[in-house]
Amino acid sequence: MTSNMIAREPAIGRRTLLKVGSAGAAALLFAPIIARAASDMGGALSPDASIYPKKAFAQTSESAALKIMYGADATASDKIQLDAPDIAENGAVVPVTVSTDMPNVTSISLLALDNPYTMAASYKLTADAIPNIASRLKLAKTTKVVAIVEAGGKLYSTSKPVKVTLGGCG
């Protein structure tokens, strides 16, 4: 396989992070990267737990979860970009990004079909929100990840298989 392949690319990770230079950079780097919490509570925001669609998150099939969440089934679409790795480096942290150019997107959901519960995350977008959301998911095993986009009152979907291998050594 690709065992001994050297994956080379210019300017990445550490180097990009370090571009600021070395002298006294640490303190400089630290401050702007993280804007520390000004207050412990998010101002006036206080999310209401009762709006949580608990039932939709307790389903074990795609169609059941979608029925409860949206009252409909999704049709496949090539207008949705679902960015997820072919092979997860660790099933506990799998970066997944969903984006689309469709207009009037009101909701985006992420499903992992072979997880104990299908629905992983769901987002409600207001008119100003751009349909481009990145998240990190737990995948119990190799599974198809499905992205659902609700646009103009209709449901669209795309999917991608993600292989989850045994983690542990390293």
Binding site: A35, A37, G42, L45, P53, P116, L125, T126, A129, L137
Partner: protein, 103 residues
Amino acid sequence: MANQILARATVSGGVTTVQALVKHPMDSGFVKDKAGKIIPPHYIEVIEFALNGKVVLTGFWGPAVSRNPYSKFMFKGGKSGDTISIAWVDNLGKKAGTEVKIA
């Protein structure tokens, strides 16, 4: 507790990008501890992101969202100095939130 949420918001070309890392175990309820006892489910259910107090994105999360969850999203509008608020509530009714200024 301090530092429950680390966030950063930047604006460019009229589009604001928000990134946030939330400190939370996100226990699924399927994992056992070292003594073989099930760790009870403990995860964020609702998270809200707002610009100057007005919600722009609401996230509903299940136990399949990774520990210490990361989110990144974008929205139109917002300018340097505006306030982004982020707040969550979990399945045990605990809440936390933070505010950052758009850089």
